[in-house]
């Protein structure tokens, strides 16, 4: 199962290495990982999207992360009301003949063209990962030359509808 996990960490050198090393050691498969500063100096936030086999593995992952000295907080936010955003840059082949067709795809996705050459345009799109998937699928037939994605970063919404079930960290 796919889980979205956020951790708050002390921004020491090597902390990213420590966390990814831990995931590797315990054989967890990371789909994406993003890291950045938070509103507090010296504190960073990481957002992972990981695949875990079952509930026990998930619990292990959360506990092992929590055990790290530089990790302050671990949350599995998958089942909460969350906002998730990811950014992708896509270079797509767009000879003049199909360019307007491509533009008509870009518009409803509220993506933007950020670079253009004779036969290639570079598009930037942000949104939740599913939206980005859908966008890429639509562009694929035209020929994607290059693609890069930042991985997802996420927040829990201020208003939660119902108390979501969350694994307790003992």
């Amino acid at each position: 199962m796919k889980r979205v996990i956020t951790t708050t960490v002390i921004n020491q050198s090597g902390v990213l290495n420590r966390v990814t090393g831990l995931l590797m050691k315990r054989q967890f498969n990371i789909e994406s990982i993003t890291v950045g500063h938070t509103e507090k100096t010296g504190i960073s936030k990481m957002t992972f999207v990981v695949h875990v086999e079952d509930q026990r593995k998930l619990e292990q992952l959360l506990k092992q992360l929590q055990k790290q000295i530089d990790v302050l907080k671990v949350n599995d936010i998958t089942d909460k009301a969350i906002v998730t955003r990811e950014l992708a840059l896509i270079k797509v082949l767009s000879p003049p003949g199909v360019r307007s067709e491509i533009t008509s795809i870009i518009e409803p996705f509220r993506a933007t063209v950020i670079d253009m050459s004779k036969n290639v345009i570079t598009v930037q799109v942000t949104g939740d990962p599913e939206k980005i998937e859908a966008f890429i699928d639509l562009l694929r037939p035209y020929g994607i030359k290059e693609l890069t994605r930042t991985g997802a970063t996420a927040f829990v919404r201020e208003n939660q509808k119902a108390p979501a079930q969350q694994l307790s960290i003992l």
């Binding site: 960490v9 090597g14 619990e59």
Partner: protein, 581 residues
């Protein structure tokens, strides 16, 4: 390790030479910080990157044991830590000095031993340039330390050392490594005095007090249980809770089994003790796990060598797991009542419950019958000396009071089975990592920690040859360690598995050509003996254990002897082989 003279170092020395005396250098701060932590023994080996630290140690001494290999130093520190309960301190230089520690660090991590390891590092300016004797020891040891640091500024040194000792010794103990670049040791500390900093570790707050509601649930489960069993692991020893454990089981009448590392939590001859459980555990202990309806695990981590095939582990039991490390709970075995906390506090809370002696007589009677019907045993067919006989003889001549260390393998299992400990913290063995060459240096550390106790290192002929260079220390430091080699001229456990599972194809496991261990002992100026039969061994042990000198005894034992009973890998505890009535 050879000495590195590079430009950086000469610069540093130049600056160092111009210092006014009152100013502290990083190396002085290092020594003072160790003194502040109450360090009274260091195990180490000098080299280029730690020259400033050793120079400061020369001027301001703390007792130091100069091992003959860094691996010997760290295993000695582990032995010291295990029997004393104090944090073991290790120093090694950069590069190969540091990498030679890796086995010991991993060993300490697996067996939760508190160590603080200081490694030298090349100067900050050349880190990352593949400088002479540079190794990324922080990267290398990240997965095998509880935490590790590289010091970036000399001002951080007192704080980091204070944190390192705190992290190593609290919660679930473990090794912490501090990597100190050479220039940091030479740098001038900004103030004339070191302030002991207050700890600020928001991400490290181990839970020691158990949740009382959970404890009450254990009480209710005990009242309901017909077949309760306690599994006591090393957490009970780390928590210094043996006394409380014995009090609790005597109050309630619950039988007890041990993990390998938990041996000693309860006296070996206690009537409620079933012996060790697991792959080479006793019949009664393993059957008790299979039949129990309530299994209370205190401070054990349900290691695969204990559980066997998890599908068949404790199939009838409600599992209670008390552990200071929440990550261990539910890792391998589903737990009905999880309790995070220190073993001592947990057992003290259990003692506060209104529980009287449980009415479980039929259960305890059936276990007692199993214990007497199927005891650990061996039979001497060949009339050669048997390894089990050696262990029992040593047990008799030391009254079960000795500190015993081992490597890994057959001799370890026989020692675990046949040396019944009277006291806690007398058993030093490499459990989780299973390190050959651990036992002998660990015995040196144990003897240093407990100079007046009898320390016996049981080793195999294979393992002993991995760290025998430390024989130098016995004479040099006047350590009366008794080294007992159970010499079967092979790597016994490897040979046993090849015999059992590989149709007797003894691939590279026989060691027919060996040094003359008696002469070897003499070369190191200690007494060496060789015995080949029971009577001679008996006679010799009488003499050796009466003496306060070190001795090395080469016991030539039956090669084909196997460790039984056994749960084959992948099998459940109920599928034991080699059980004899």
């Amino acid at each position: 390790m050879s000495v590195n003279v590079n430009v950086k170092q000469q610069d540093a020395q130049k600056i160092g030479g111009e210092l006014p005396k009152a100013k502290l250098q990083g190396s002085d701060v290092f020594i003072q910080s160790l003194q502040n932590e109450g360090v009274d023994m260091i195990f180490g080996y000098p080299g280029g990157a730690v020259l400033p630290l050793y120079d400061a140690l020369y001027k301001n001494p703390i007792p130091h044991i100069l091992a003959r290999h860094e691996q010997g130093a760290i295993h000695a520190a582990e032995g010291y830590a295990r029997v004393s309960g104090k944090t073991g301190v290790v120093i090694a230089t950069s590069g190969p000095g540091a990498t030679n520690l890796v086995t010991g660090i991993a060993d300490a991590m697996m067996d939760s031993l508190p160590l603080v390891i200081f490694t030298g590092q090349v100067a900050s300016a050349v880190i990352g340039t593949d400088a002479f004797q540079e190794a990324d020891i922080v990267g290398i040891t990240q997965p095998i330390t509880k935490h590790n640091y590289q010091v970036k500024n000399v001002e951080d040194l007192p704080r980091i050392i204070h944190e390192a000792f705190h992290i190593a010794s609290t919660g679930r103990p473990g090794p912490v490594l501090v990597d100190i670049p050479k220039n940091i040791s030479n740098d001038v500390f900004p103030t004339a005095e070191i302030k002991v900093t207050e700890l600020n570790l928001p991400g490290y707050q181990p839970t020691t007090s158990p949740n009382f509601l959970q404890i009450q649930k254990v009480g209710q489960a005990l009242q309901r249980s017909q077949k309760p069993l306690i599994l006591a692991g090393a957490g009970v020893l780390h928590g210094k809770a043996s006394k409380e454990l014995v009090e609790f089981i005597e109050k309630t009448g619950v039988p007890v089994t041990n993990t390998l590392l938990g041996l000693g939590t309860i006296p070996g001859d206690h009537p409620q003790f079933l012996g060790m459980a697991g792959m080479h555990g006793t019949y009664s202990a393993n059957m008790a796990i299979c039949e129990a309806d309530l299994l209370i695990n205190i401070g054990a981590r349900f290691d695969d060598r204990l559980t066997g095939n998890l599908e068949h582990f404790a199939p009838n039991a409600t599992v209670v797991h008390i552990d200071i490390d929440p990550a261990e709970i539910g890792k391998n075995v589903d737990t009905a009542i999880p309790i995070v906390g220190d073993a001592k506090e947990a057992i003290q809370s259990l003692l506060k419950l209104e529980i009287q002696k449980l009415s479980i007589d039929s259960w305890t009677a059936s276990l007692a019958k199993m214990k007497s019907d199927y005891p650990l045993n061996y039979s001497n067919v060949s009339k050669k000396l048997l390894p089990q006989e050696v262990i029992e003889l040593v047990h008799r001549h030391t009254n079960g009071d000795a500190i015993v260390t081992t490597d890994v393998g057959q001799h370890q299992m026989w020692a675990a089975q046949f040396y019944r400990f009277n006291h806690p913290d007398n058993w030093v063995t490499s459990g989780g990592l299973g390190t050959m060459g651990f036992g002998f240096p660990a015995a040196i550390g144990a003897q240093i920690a407990k100079p007046n106790e009898t320390v016996v290192a049981f080793t195999g002929d294979g393992g002993f040859q991995m760290t025998l260079q430390e024989l130098s220390l016995l004479q040099e430091s006047q350590l009366p360690v008794k080294v007992i080699i159970l010499n079967n001229q092979c790597l016994g456990m490897v040979r046993q598995w090849q015999q059992t599972f590989y149709d007797e194809r003894y691939s590279e496991s026989l060691l027919p050509s060996q040094p003359d261990f008696v002469k070897l002992a003499e070369a190191y100026d200690i007494e060496g003996y060789k015995v080949e039969n029971y009577e001679d061994a008996d006679e010799l042990f009488k003499k050796v254990f009466a003496s306060n000198k070190p001795a090395l005894i080469d016991c030539r034992v039956e090669q084909m002897e196997n460790v039984y009973p056994m749960v084959a890998p992948g099998k459940g505890l109920h599928e034991m082989i080699g059980v004899k009535g």
